[in-house]
């Protein structure tokens, strides 16, 4: 039984399990993206080009982060509660195959929402985005990192705690993270925190790949994301393998 075959079968298994949720998730992501694009401008008396660019590129980032850091851990917590997490652990499949299959399915669920958010933003603000070829690896990296971190949260915490932590994360991502605005507006201590957390770097990578002529992507941000991604993956992997 090759790892690849396990991976493909598990993708099918998870995709079928979530197929009824898929339309609902697309609607939620659509509403979220629409809300950000339509609602945030109300906070600003005037919209200059820089502000609209931040809003347009922040919308897909927020959509993606909300799904990865909130929906993924809640779904994993749900799988733990209903027993399917434990059941899969009794099957003779490589743990990494299971983890990657799950992440693949999540990525497939999150991607359309991101594309939709970009579309809505472009329509609303009439922007000409300068989308770089780096956009595909950039979005894959961000989705993977957000899902891995989300997975790690759900792996470490009991289901109830996961729900609470992710609710707090939503507020933090929506209100106190430099996704819709430049980090300079944050107080120093919060900037220091965001310098090590992956949220700002995720926003930066997405912004830099969607509006490549206006924003640069720092190599350090990519490295930071890669580190969080590997860290999250390692935690989720260890948790899957753990024997109490």
């Amino acid at each position: 039984m090759s790892a690849l075959r396990s991976y493909l079968l598990l993708i099918r298994w998870q995709a079928l399990r979530y197929k009824m949720l898929l339309p609902l998730m697309l609607v939620v992501q659509g509403l979220l993206a629409f809300g950000i694009v339509a609602g945030y401008p109300l906070l600003f008396p005037e919209l200059d080009r820089n502000t609209t660019l931040f809003l347009a590129t922040g919308a897909p980032a927020i959509t993606l982060l909300t799904m990865g850091l909130v929906l993924v851990p809640q779904m994993v917590a749900g799988a733990k509660t209903e027993g399917s997490y434990e059941y899969v652990r009794t099957l003779p499949v490589p743990r990494l195959a299971f983890l990657f299959a799950d992440l693949t399915v999540w990525a497939a669920i999150i991607l359309p929402g991101v594309a939709f958010a970009v579309g809505v933003a472009v329509l609303r603000f009439g922007l000409d985005l300068a989308i770089s070829p780096f956009v595909v690896p950039a979005i894959v990296l961000v989705i993977l990192t957000a899902s891995c971190v989300g997975y790690a949260i759900a792996s470490l915490a009991p289901p109830m705690l996961t729900t609470i932590v992710t609710q707090a994360l939503v507020v933090f991502v929506l209100m106190f993270s430099p996704l819709n605005f430049p980090p300079e507006r944050l107080p120093d201590w919060l900037r220091a925190i965001h310098a090590v957390l992956p949220i700002q770097a995720m926003g930066e990578v997405i912004r830099g790949s969607l509006a490549s002529t206006s924003f640069a992507i720092a190599g350090g941000s990519v490295a930071l994301l890669a580190a969080w991604c590997v860290g999250g993956l390692a935690i989720a992997f260890v948790a899957l393998n753990r024997r109490g």
């Binding site: 598990l10 399990r17 027993g83 099957l91 003779p92 024997r243 109490g244």
Partner: protein, 339 residues
């Protein structure tokens, strides 16, 4: 069919291959008593081995160690002569599990769920298909094979979960309360299939608290109580360890109590107006005369005298072990092993 000659059976076992061997297994949880305390047992190829015990006796802890979800504190587990404590991945290839909790299959049909587990366990697609059809036919669940799992009743889900464990069974199949929620007719079909997979050359470890059902369906069993094996043997063998071989069951008139009970009648359990007592067969005649006199005088509504069941033995053995444990002399004296 159900009657097993104990001696013959033991001889057979010595010749057959032990597929599951557990030796002196101990496991405790943090801040808790020992969930498994020096458990030793073995199940052979072709055998249906019952693991019986109250809720919290340590059955699920034992199962989770076999499939590598928990790590024993001490002791060994071997499946097909291979050490699976050292290699939990191997355990999952050699053993398949039907968990006690329902496996969530919403979104999947039974055919898809069984098919994918079969293929994940390494069976070729054509064989998976054939075996799925065969089990569905044998369990009379064909009409639901292509129904979404979310729409299935508890019993059909449970049978699907059995098929998922049985489709590519490996060498050991662990069934944790497989008959829960299943209707009486399909229960019989299920027992037949459990027998059939054992006959195909695997060992079946059947975890249950349903003693009555186990009596007629397992070859041997172990009774687990507070983490220890307090008795092990064939159903007939275990029944013979209990002094009295008959059960006299009395249904009292509402509000009535039993008085002046003859010495040869021992009260075992009572629930509401129903009193179960134990009687040795040499006193059968006197017992009937006594019960009949109670019925005539209106103390008793009805009574029956039947052979003792495994449940009687179970209640007796667990009661004995509990009494001894409370006396503080548990560990040495509770081990009743019937040949």
């Amino acid at each position: 069919m159900q009657y097993t000659n104990t001696l013959w059976y033991v001889n057979q076992l010595q010749e057959s291959l032990m597929l599951l061997e557990i030796d002196d297994l101990t496991k405790s949880y943090r801040r808790g008593p020992r969930a498994n305390d020096g458990i030793s047992l073995a199940a052979a190829e072709g055998e249906v081995f019952g693991l019986l015990g109250h809720n919290g006796a340590g059955k699920t802890t034992l199962v989770n160690q076999i499939v590598g979800l928990l790590k024993p504190d001490a002791g060994s587990i071997r499946i097909d002569s291979r050490d699976v404590v050292a290699d939990p991945g191997l355990a999952r290839r050699l053993a398949s599990l039907q968990p006690q909790a329902q496996v969530p299959i919403s979104g999947l049909t039974p055919r898809q769920a069984v098919g994918m587990i079969g293929r994940l366990r390494g069976l070729p697609a054509a064989e998976v298909k054939a075996r799925t059809e065969r089990f569905a036919e044998a369990l009379d669940i064909r009409e639901w094979l292509d129904t979404d799992g979310a729409k299935l009743s508890g019993g059909i889900k449970r049978l699907t979960s059995f098929c998922m464990a049985a489709v590519a069974p490996g060498r050991l199949v662990i069934l944790d309360e497989p008959t829960n929620d299943v209707d009486p007719v399909r229960r019989r079909l299920l027992w037949r299939q459990i027998r059939a997979i054992a006959a195909d050359g695997v060992a079946v470890l059947l975890v249950s608290h349903n003693v009555l059902e186990a009596e007629h369906s397992v070859d041997r069993l172990a009774i687990l109580d507070h983490g220890k094996v307090i008795a092990e043997g064939t159903p007939a063998g275990l029944k013979s360890t209990v002094a009295e071989d008959l059960r006299l069951e009395l249904v009292l008139e509402p509000g009535g109590t039993l008085e002046d009970v003859p010495a040869f009648i021992r009260q075992r359990a009572s629930t509401g107006t129903r009193v179960v007592t134990a009687v040795d067969s040499v006193h059968a005649g006197e017992a009937v005369v006594w019960a009949e006199s109670l019925r005539e005088t209106g103390f008793v509504e009805e009574f029956s005298l039947t052979p003792a069941t495994l449940e009687d033995a179970y209640v007796e053995l667990v009661g004995r072990a509990d009494a001894l444990r409370e006396d503080g002399t548990a560990s040495e004296a509770t081990d009743v092993r019937a040949a």
